[in-house]
Symmetry: C2
DNA sequence: CAAACCATGTAAGCTGTTACATGATTTC
DNA sequence: GAAATCATGTAACAGCTTACATGGTTTG
């Protein structure tokens, strides 16, 4: 999986400029790339060289000119092929768990404070994701099934946050109850 | 967060060679680095230059000589400081969700097959993690609280898998029931 | 006798990030 | 008049991966 596929997907939804894509990446919950120029503009050129996208320059008065990219037939075939490919297991990068692994040197209050900070961090994430779901910008609604799929994508992210929150809550409670 | 902290943590547990660390990284559930030579040996040299670790060469007959690294006082202070630093929110890189985002072009069977493949992938992950927990190699047990902490670390990973599994299960069920 | 293990290291390359560069227009 | 938005691109660097290089020992 790489950013090429994500861009092809977005372009299959609607033609866009590099700048449009950048904003979508910045906002997106699932497309985890930062949306930096270097990657997006270079990838678009590459996709163009491979014949997977077309580009049309639109000159504008009183605005810089745009390059509007759209997906080609070949691009649609490539996208479909990728969508059908064997899924990868999710990657969890929880640096907090590594931090926690060596946290036995901390005092009782220090440890609880660390856990509470993590809890706060997740709570912020959760609210952010719930807001994104409500706003629902950059969500295609071409068929009822597509709407359902995107709803489940948001549910996945939110339930991951909720799961993490439950876990911290349990740990804080147990550390208070137990005599360790 | 970077690999330096993880290595300091491991060395605070016990002195090790680069090769030892490599194996721990390869096996570890939470320390997500691949454990490649380039990164480990270079980081050890860097930590040594910074005075955070000591190294002692042990010549062996009928075996290549080892460099046994151990953490210094300065290293312990650095580690403690890092453990107390503000935690980062977890990063979820679920490429499957991006794949799913453009999966409405698939037929009913194709979509269910895709979901079932993902389900299988997670099931394998879950079993793997449960086995790692049982084996419990590379787990320090210096105090009851440390044992509890490491137990909660494994619980975190396993509950993440379980949560993902529940989500796929629900989606497959709903797609069968609903008329979309 | 091949494969795997022990043990250290290097080279080349890919991915992704931050920051820089330009320049017009709109909003506060 | 400063800051943000629109719009495209480049340069330098950090992080991480695969593969290469060496060479002895143990296991199947």
């Amino acid at each position: 999986m790489n950013i090429k596929c994500a861009i092809l997907g977005l372009l299959s939804w609607k033609p866009s400029t590099g700048y449009d894509l950048k904003k979508i990446f910045e906002e997106s919950s699932i497309m985890y790339w930062s949306g930096n120029n270097n990657q997006i503009y270079k990838t678009l050129i590459q996709l163009h060289n491979d014949g997977l996208v077309d580009s049309e320059v639109q000159h504008q008065e009183s605005s810089p000119s745009k390059k509007i990219y759209s997906i080609t037939e070949k691009g649609l075939i490539e996208l479909r092929q990728w969508v059908l490919s064997t899924p990868e297991a999710p990657e969890f990068k929880k640096t907090f768990l590594i931090q926690l692994a060596w946290a036995d040197t901390l005092g009782k209050e220090e440890l609880d404070s660390l856990l509470s900070k993590y809890e706060e961090e997740i709570k912020i994430q959760l609210i952010l994701q719930q807001e994104k779901r409500k706003r629902g910008t950059h969500v295609p609604n071409r068929t009822p099934r597509e709407t359902y799929i995107w709803d489940m994508i948001f549910e996945n992210i939110i339930s991951s946050c909720q799961n993490e929150l439950d876990w911290v809550g349990k740990m804080r409670r147990e550390l208070k109850e137990k005599v360790l």
